[in-house]
């Protein structure tokens, strides 16, 4: 009888350990997925900022600026608009010959896009502050979301510095 009990308990313990090991593998996989999602989203927020920054550097004239939209003229006299449409970033470019180019970036998961001018002593609109908040549903934990944030100030060099004629 005791031998039977030993065999049964050994099998039960082995089963528990097997389940635990499987559980650890599942947790590790979930952690990896979450980690990857967070890093990808953070990278996405950073790339979005860099993309906008490269265009903003060539700004020569503000046409319109709200807290979530910016429209400006650049050094080529193109009129460029950046705005958030649903969760996408949309850029709208009107060339001097009135042709247009619309680009929509859906995979940036934008939750917020903010533009704000920053004044420095003696310079009312010297810098443009760009803030991006990206949010994606957490596929591992459905009740939570993953958030990434990026903020950068850009010196409006072509707006501020005198242009050579």
């Amino acid at each position: 009888m005791s031998t039977l009990l030993d065999i049964v308990s050994a099998v039960v313990i082995a089963g528990i350990i097997f389940l635990l090991i499987m559980n650890i593998h599942a947790t590790m996989l979930e952690s990896n997925v979450e980690n990857r999602m967070m890093q990808d989203l953070q990278g996405m927020a950073d790339v979005t900022i860099s993309f906008i920054q490269e265009e903003i550097k060539r700004l020569t004239e503000f046409e319109e600026i709200t807290d979530s939209t910016i429209r400006f003229k650049n050094t080529n006299n193109d009129v460029i608009t950046f705005e958030r449409v649903d969760n996408a970033l949309r850029s709208y470019r009107i060339f001097p010959d009135n042709s247009t180019l619309v680009e929509r970036f859906d995979n940036v998961y934008l939750r917020m896009l903010r533009f704000e001018t920053v004044s420095l002593p003696g310079a009312p609109h010297a810098l443009l502050r760009i803030r991006v908040l990206c949010e994606i549903e957490n596929t591992v934990d459905q009740s939570a979301t993953i958030i990434a944030h990026a903020q950068r100030d850009v010196f409006l060099r072509n707006f501020y510095l005198p242009r050579k004629n």
């Binding site: 308990s9 050994a10 313990i13 528990i16 350990i17 635990l20 090991i21 559980n23 650890i24 947790t27 590790m28 952690s31 990896n32 979450e34 980690n35 967070m38 890093q39 953070q42 990278g43 927020a45 950073d46 900022i49 420095l120 310079a123 010297a126 810098l127 908040l133 990434a148 944030h149 990026a150 903020q151 950068r152 100030d153 850009v154 010196f155 060099r157 501020y160 510095l161």
Partner: protein, 134 residues
């Protein structure tokens, strides 16, 4: 009895492993986030310095005192969206010959984050050249 104790120890060990995996994962993501925020903060400080080129002769008065990360009056601070604080220092060289045979000053921006052991760990360093353009 021995088997039961062995199983219990194994169970505790496995449970700890699960927690360690989760903690490493969270730490890794947080470090990545801080690196990216430090990158953006460093660039923002550098952009502000670029603006100061139009007051080239006042660079020392504006930035030379921002050289000690351990002193709250000698650094630039920025609190990230997630509540971490980053610290930036600015280093200005004297007038010297820079790239393309131009005279100017070299500026170095370093961004630090305070570790759990209260040490300032440098996360990002930017270097650029400043020339009097007017």
């Amino acid at each position: 009895m021995l088997l039961a104790i062995f199983a219990l120890v194994l169970l505790m060990n496995l449970s700890l492993s699960i927690h360690r995996v989760k903690i490493f994962s969270i730490t890794d993501s947080k470090e990545h986030q801080i690196d990216l925020e430090a990158n953006s903060f460093g660039q923002s400080v550098m952009e502000e310095i670029f603006y100061s080129i139009n007051r080239y002769n006042e660079l020392d008065a504006s930035y030379a005192h921002l050289s000690d990360v351990t002193n709250s009056g000698s650094r630039v601070e920025y609190t990230t969206f997630f509540g971490d604080t980053l610290y930036a220092t600015v280093g200005l060289s004297g007038e010297k010959l820079l790239v393309h045979d131009m005279d100017g000053r070299q500026v170095t921006v370093r961004v630090y984050h305070k570790s759990d052991h209260n040490e300032y760990v440098m996360r990002v360093e930017y270097q650029s050249a400043l020339n009097p353009i007017w």
